[in-house]
Amino acid sequence: MRKIGAFVIGGSAGSLDVLLKVLPEVNKNLDFAIIIVIHRKQGTDSLLTDLLAHRTTLKVKEADEKEKILNGYVYIAPSDYHLLIEKDFTFSLDYSEKINYSRPSIDVTFQSAADVYGEKLVCLLLSGSNADGVNGLIAAKKNGGVTLAQNPASAQVSYMPEQAISRANVTSVLDIEEMADYINSLSLNH
């Protein structure tokens, strides 16, 4: 099995509930980082980080610019900035135009991660009502990464994972109950 570098999760409407179910079941000594990009209102950053931090033994923090990406951490994209990844595995922030009416945009982070991690990348697109993230999945797959979508039948809003399945030809479709096991199985540390 190959060692992965990052597991990047994108989601919009209906995705927070999925994360609240999945993160508590994820092992804390992962040998890769989890990076989360969720669409949300401005100014609710620390709230979201706190909310997720209380549900998991993993270290959860909002991504800072120039911050080195460490294994076993869960990073949250700050609201109102795009989150990118540099070749030296640090974060960059970008306040450019919204993409798919969104900032942070899931496409931006997936595409940037695809450039840096190549085949060591796994991307998962969750529930949501627009198609942000689908182009990013296509880029991730093109560069050899693994792409995943939430089973639309289990999604509060099925449009986003449906688009992922129909347009990005994802590697696998996962039910909520399968996600934590899937993530844990990717880690070579058990």
Binding site: K66, L84, S112, A114, D115, G118, A139, N143, G144
Partner: protein
């Protein structure tokens, strides 16, 4: 290395080198992930069919190069963005400058000017505008022309008005502009205290001493060494006890000048405490 977009890492470096050699603009200290995305975006928007064509136009066509600079740099801005920051300006920082006979403010990376007009509105409400001067600078001459016009989309006024109120503004925001078709034209009195000029933070020097320098959401595009150089430039341009204001996600911490600065409140504002 892999590429998800139309421009490769090598091609990014070729363009950076061309632009430096041919036009004297130095993008070598820009964070690559964002720059690469801007270049890919410009390439797609302008419907180039090959990298060779993109490169040729950038090198040889001065009109296209102006457009290139505008496209590569990020010019997204709004009025009273981050209302809590503007509340701090209104309630603490600008009133403390009242003791000076003359207030000089440098807005570095002013883009299309929305922040300059926001600051001028607060200065006017604090009765400080008459003795203030806002030096608004940007690398990009095209955005400065827009800034000097003082006209912003009318469609934005509802959100700007909400920001203004959230930042402690008490007046009717619409009293500051007149509607003209799809644009809001701001009072010329606000503009009378602004000086617009090109200034490149990468290559240009300090040009005055200020009591307040604002540079918000510009440094996120620079790598650490360039950030530190720009902090030195700000330090040389700031009077003792002057203030430096950065974007919500930017910090002076870990920089060589940070020992001489003290954080003010919870927003990203620092005060110079020793010369």
């Amino acid at each position: 290395m892999s590429n998800s977009g139309p421009i490769s890492d090598e091609e990014v470096e070729i363009l950076i080198n061309d632009v430096l050699e041919q036009h004297g603009y130095d993008f070598t200290g820009y964070s690559r992930a964002s720059l690469k995305r801007r270049l890919a975006r410009l390439y797609a928007l302008d419907k180039h069919v090959s990298f060779a064509e993109f490169r040729y136009k950038t090198l040889n066509d001065d009109v296209y190069f102006k457009h290139f600079v505008e496209g590569v740099t990020v010019n997204v801005t709004e009025m009273f963005r981050d209302p809590s920051f503007y509340r701090l300006l209104r309630e603490k920082i600008l009133p403390s400058l009242n003791t000076y006979p003359f207030i000089r403010i440098w807005l570095a990376g002013c883009s299309t000017g929305e922040e300059a007009y926001s600051i001028a509105i607060i200065l006017k409400e604090l009765n400080l505008l008459h003795k203030s001067l806002i030096y608004a600078t940007d690398i990009n001459p095209t955005v400065l022309e827009k800034a000097a016009n003082g006209m912003f989309p009318l469609s934005q006024m509802k959100s700007y008005s909400e920001n203004y109120i959230a930042s402690g503004g008490k007046k009717d925001f619409s009293s500051y502009y007149s509607a003209s078709y799809s644009l809001a034209k701001f009072d010329t009195e606000l503009k009378s205290k602004m000086i617009f000029s090109t200034h490149n933070l990468v290559s240009d020097r300090s040009f005055n001493e200020f009591q307040l320098i604002l540079c918000r959401n510009v440094l996120i595009y620079f790598d650490r060494p360039l950030q530190f150089r720009v902090f030195q430039l700000f330090d040389q341009s700031l009077e003792n006890l002057g203030y430096l204001a950065l974007g919500t996600k930017e910090t002076l911490d870990f920089s060589p000048i940070s020992p001489a600065y003290k954080r003010v409140g919870t927003d990203k504002v620092w005060r110079k405490v020793s010369a």
